[in-house]
């Protein structure tokens, strides 16, 4: 599974004071971009430019945790669209499908969980490097995108 992101070049960084942005700002308006999600010929990517990536990273982590515990199915809802990504646990795999494009693929749960965590770590590293003010934000710090040891 290839799970990645692309931060939009036109993300209006000046519209939000990242050091003081609240939870709503960070989960709906900050660090928008594309989600890349594919396996072989199946491409479930959402290249819409406006997807809030911090929110996606947090949701992915929660979905991975839920499926690792007792959850059988989780659905990601986009912030500004009725499009969804569905995650169904089948034995030790997670089968991923999307409402906006046909096709599905499976990935071992452990791999999915590792990639979800890695997604958050990479995004956190890039955002802190590009926008140091974000690292000063206590709400952002509480998200612990890089993991609980952060």
């Amino acid at each position: 599974m290839h799970l990645d992101y692309q931060i939009s070049e036109d993300w209006d960084e000046s519209s939000t004071d990242l050091a003081t942005a609240d939870e709503t700002d960070l989960r709906y308006f900050a660090a928008t971009g594309d989600i890349i999600l594919r396996e072989g010929e199946i491409d479930l990517s959402a290249r819409w430019g406006w997807i809030p990536l911090i929110d996606f990273a947090l949701a992915l982590r929660e979905i991975a945790e839920a499926l690792s515990e007792s959850g059988e199915s989780e659905t990601f809802e986009f912030t500004d669209s009725d499009a969804t990504i569905r995650f169904d646990k089948r034995a030790q795999d997670v089968v991923i499908s999307a409402s906006y494009v046909p096709g599905e693929f499976g990935v071992p749960l452990m791999v999915f969980r590792e990639q979800a965590e890695d997604f958050g770590r990479r995004l956190d590293r890039e955002l802190r490097a590009k926008r140091p003010a974000l690292g000063l934000n206590p709400v952002y710090q509480d998200f612990k995108l890089s993991g609980l040891s952060d």
Partner: protein, 120 residues
Amino acid sequence: MVALHLGAWQIKAQDATEAVADRVIITQRAIRHIQERHWPDSPAQGAGKFSPGITENSLKQLVGEAVTNGRMRRNTHGRPGQLYEYDFGHPIGITMDGRPAYRLRVVVNRWNQLITAFPF
């Protein structure tokens, strides 16, 4: 055709909007966001669009009616606030893939401030 439906609906929704004016706070920032993402001429992909003829006032009326009469549920995966969804019974815009959209989703934060609203 979609725009005509919207115009006919506006008067009916007037009272509903006033009734919920104290329940949802609509800021200019939220209006700007919705205009950029969901206005008929918005180039944003993957997002529903309102019908041509939508105005700031008619948007507020749509939001008011959806919050008054719609189904409420908690936002998902740790996002703060609630979602309201309401089926108007006639098109209010188009879905992300261009079909007529009859429903509106309204997203508010934990302080009942409007975050976004879009047809689907």
